[in-house]
């Protein structure tokens, strides 16, 4: 089942109720069962695969720790080997996706493979580096790996962070529910309404010039952010309803003032994972090589981000471009800070320009992210300024039927999203609620119920039957 199906909401509601009724000690076991039931609605065979990998990694963690405690260095290679094998497993599926027949008799990417592989790798390396003790409870461990709110598209939670929240004790229901509702709004009202235009443009890229390409250039990142952050909201909110708070993935990414700032705000659970398990080891290994070592480590890290999404030229280019950006940013950072300290009159203009430049650099990289082929991305970027006259009409003709209306709804919705994240009406609504007279509180409840029914009605009508895929559940 998909996150935006009414069935998922029903399933979640049942799990939340049963979870609360369960005695605390049994809750991890319940979450484990609930997660595997969820996983099996996608594929029982892939669930079996997940179970096998979970058992093997669990065993590896225990053995590695035992060996270290006994000061038995002959199998110190076990944990790193496990990490490498898990990476190979992930890469094998990504490679298989490239072959026309999808390798082994039409094999499909197991659900959440990129996410759970990374959870397993981080566990085995954390035990190896003595960041945490090996988990002794198989149920707890398996629940961590398969936890269904996070299995579809993250966030990628660290093992220690998950285990310290066990046994899960869900508290407030209102906030997580609001978060889930907001996630639905972002996905269904904003991202899905921007999608037809984006798909129409990227689907015919090489026959377009001018205005439609500009539209695609600016619209896709908005769609991507609304889609993925909406999905994350649903994931985190669902987890909180069950008593587990996952890590955040986004922090107003399009307000970033520099490329390094952007990557501290976008898909944070992935970037911190790569930072801790790819960048830091590489940087440590290359720390004697000064700027070259730094650049190399950055490059490897960013290429990894690109290829994590898929082994295609476009994703590779995406990684390379970002590597270039980040290397330049890091190497010039000190010089820039010194300059602005010496010339404070340029500071304001500088930060505004920095934001504008960062935003556009990221958008350029995302053209590669979205394009099927590198040539499409090059075409788009190369033909932005050509054939501008009359291209507005072409853009309008591309959007058939309801698509123009969808686009307008999506754009207005996105504007609301950015304004909401900037001014946080939810926070001042909460403050008002705390001091409000009774009729205001009653109005809040009643408005909440009204919006809820309205939202559910919209959900049933627009998604029941249709499998509106999330952009990030294919990873």
């Amino acid at each position: 089942m998909s996150f935006t199906e009414p069935l998922f909401l029903l399933y979640l509601a049942i799990c939340v109720v049963v979870n609360r009724l369960c005695p605390k000690g049994l809750r991890p076991a319940f979450l484990l069962v609930a997660s595997y039931v969820f996983y099996c609605t996608w594929s029982p065979a892939a669930a079996g695969l997940l179970a096998v990998l979970t058992l093997l990694t669990f065993g590896a963690g225990l053995v590695a720790e035992h060996a270290r405690v006994q000061e038995n260095t002959s199998i110190a290679w076990l944990a790193p080997a496990a990490a490498i094998l898990l990476t190979g497993y992930l890469m094998a599926f990504k490679v298989a996706l490239l072959t026309p027949s999808h390798g082994i008799a039409g094999l499909v990417m197991p659900l959440g493979i990129s996410y759970y592989s990374f959870k397993l790798i981080s566990y085995v390396l954390d035990v190896h580096w003595v960041k945490m003790p090996a988990e002794k409870g198989l149920v707890n461990f398996a629940a961590y790996v398969a936890f269904f709110p996070q299995i579809v598209a993250g966030p990628i939670q660290r093992p220690a962070n998950f285990f310290e929240q066990l046994p899960p004790q869900p508290e407030s229901v209102v906030n997580p529910l609001l978060r889930i509702a907001w996630g639905f709004v972002k996905k269904l009202l904003i991202a899905d309404n921007l999608a037809p235009a984006v798909n129409a443009i990227y689907g015919h890229v090489t026959s377009l010039h001018g205005a439609p390409l500009w539209a695609g250039f600016y619209l896709f990142p908005l769609q991507l952010y609304a889609d993925f952050s909406g999905l994350t909201d649903i994931a985190i909110g669902s987890g909180q309803l069950l008593g587990i708070t996952g890590p955040e993935n986004f922090n107003r990414p399009f307000t970033a003032s520099s490329i390094s700032d952007f990557w501290r705000r976008w898909h944070m659970s992935l970037t911190t994972w790569l930072g801790d398990y790819v960048f830091v080891p590489m940087r440590m290994a290359s720390r004697r090589a000064g700027q070259w070592g730094l650049s190399f480590s950055i490059a490897v890290n960013m290429i990894a981000i690109g290829l994590w999404h898929g082994l295609t030229g476009s994703y590779l280019f995406f990684g390379l471009i970002n590597a270039g950006y980040l290397i330049v940013d890091t190497l010039t950072n000190k010089r820039r800070t010194t300059f602005f300290r010496k010339n404070p009159q340029w500071d304001k203009a500088g930060s505004w320009f920095g934001w504008l430049l960062t935003f556009h650099l990221i958008l350029i990289a995302e053209v590669f992210f979205r394009s099927q082929h590198v040539s499409d991305a090059v075409w788009l970027l190369g033909h932005l300024w050509s054939g501008l006259s009359g291209s507005l009409a072409v853009l309008q003709s591309l959007l058939v039927g309801n698509e123009m209306r969808s686009l307008v709804i999506g754009l207005v919705g996105y504007l609301m999203l950015e304004l909401g994240e900037r001014y946080r009406p939810d926070q001042w609504l909460r403050r008002i609620y705390a001091v409000a007279p009774r009729w205001v509180r009653w109005s809040y409840y009643s408005a909440g119920v009204t919006f809820g029914i309205f939202g559910l009605a919209l959900l049933f009508v627009h998604t029941a039957g249709k499998r509106a895929a999330f952009l990030y559940e294919i990873f």
Partner: protein, 411 residues
């Protein structure tokens, strides 16, 4: 006292929220299906007089039903002088709710015929008696009880093969609940047992239902909630269907798969009973027209694959259906017409010619799957032109009219 004041204020606030939501939906032009039907004793159901609402199934069209339960403008019942009236009975193709009233083939036909007869001082009126979902039994009852007061000189049955199966109650027990069905007894058409034993509807309940439906149609929010209610009802059966998909080796005599094959192949053994009843109904319709002095025509609607401009798709489809040609049903009806003395006209050829020469699709609308479904505006226009031309060429009445043989008489 405070309690009631607070309750009232909260209720007002909720009202404001509801108003705001209604406003959002209207601003964004998001329409949901309106309710346009009413239950009837005679035909099971029909279009609700004076209803108005959005049809969203395939396209987004605002549909208005007149005071006589037709999707048409208001018309005087008795036929004005020097007016050719053509009554078209049929189901969803006839109703043409995927296009606006002016784009329907009936309107196009009216304009074409009027132009043709202008010289003689006559005008043409094409009456749309189509109701989506109607079976031939219901169309027969429509003819007998609703058409004649308009005094048409020509009656056209717009035939399509899908409703043929609906003449047999066992094929669609749920859908045909409450609808009249005929069976053949000693070669005569009689209402079946269920039709005869269905109790009459509770009039008060129907009035209440109809009034609430009219109110519902006025609010975008209400139609949204109704659409959600329908989806919720389908939720559990849909879930069951999903779980059973792996075991999709169910026997193929399910009505839906037969319907598609039937659309192109009249010789299916399981459909023969349905064909006999349908043909008996067509004969009865012809006799009714004869008694009222009107011409009776059968116009065969085309099937999508007969007129798709994509010739490769046509071939592929024909192969997959294992048929010598996609025109078998039309040919069957032509033989039937010849045997019964009923003029018939197949739309497939003229429509296909147009589609191929203009490389355009005649079926399909924004909300439906690609290029499938009912006639779009172009399709309706071509249908209207084609039927008008055919009547001008082969209808006795129209030929006599335009050649001046009927002069100032009205028949």
């Amino acid at each position: 006292m405070r309690f009631f004041r607070d309750l009232l204020l909260a209720a007002l606030a909720t009202g404001a929220v509801l108003g705001m939501l209604e406003g959002f939906l209207r601003l964004a032009h998001v329409h949901y299906q309106g309710s346009l039907y009413a239950n009837e004793n005679e035909r099971g159901f029909g279009l609700r007089p004076n209803a108005a609402g959005w049809e969203t199934d395939e396209a987004d069209v605002y549909v208005q039903i007149n005071s006589d339960g037709m999707r048409d403008r208001e018309r005087p019942i008795s036929r004005p002088a020097h007016t050719l009236r053509v009554a078209v009975i049929g189901s969803s193709e006839t109703n043409a709710r995927e296009v606006t009233l002016d784009e329907t083939f009936e309107a196009v036909m009216s304009r074409d015929l009027s132009r043709d007869l202008e010289a003689r001082g006559w005008s043409a009126d094409v009456l749309n008696f189509g109701v989506p979902g109607y079976t031939y039994s219901q169309e027969y009852l429509t003819l007998q009880n609703h058409v004649w007061k308009y005094q048409p000189q020509i009656v056209i049955l717009l035939f399509s093969s899908f409703p043929v199966l609906k003449t047999v109650r066992n094929f669609y027990p749920a859908e045909l609940k409450g609808a009249p069905v005929y069976v053949l007894q000693d070669g005569k058409l009689v209402p079946d047992a269920i039709t005869r034993s269905t109790p009459p509807l509770d009039a008060h309940r129907q009035i209440f239902k109809n009034r609430s439906s009219d109110w519902m149609n006025k609010s975008y929010l209400a139609t949204l909630l109704n659409a959600a209610r329908v989806k919720v009802k389908e939720f559990v059966p849909a879930l069951k269907a999903r779980w059973q998909k792996p075991s999709a080796t169910a026997p193929s005599s399910t009505a839906t798969s037969s319907a598609e094959r039937l659309s192109y192949n009249p010789d299916l053994p399981e459909a023969q009973e349905a064909w006999s009843i349908a043909e008996a109904i067509f004969k009865a319709m012809k006799e009714d027209c004869y008694r009222h002095g009107a011409e009776f025509w059968i116009v065969m609607a085309d099937q999508e694959k007969q007129v798709t401009p994509d010739l490769a798709a046509r071939e592929a489809f024909q192969k997959s259906m294992n048929l010598p040609s996609l025109d078998a049903v039309d040919q069957h009806m032509e033989r039937f017409g010849a045997a019964q003395g009923i003029p018939v006209f197949a739309l497939a050829k003229p429509l296909s010619d147009y589609a191929l020469s203009h490389k355009t699709y005649l079926h399909g609308a924004p909300n439906s799957a690609e290029h499938s479904g009912h006639w779009n505006a172009v399709g309706n226009a071509q249908v209207g032109h084609a039927i008008a031309k055919e009547l001008e060429a082969r209808s006795t009445f129209v030929r006599e009219l335009s050649s001046g043989q009927l002069a100032a008489q009205s028949r």
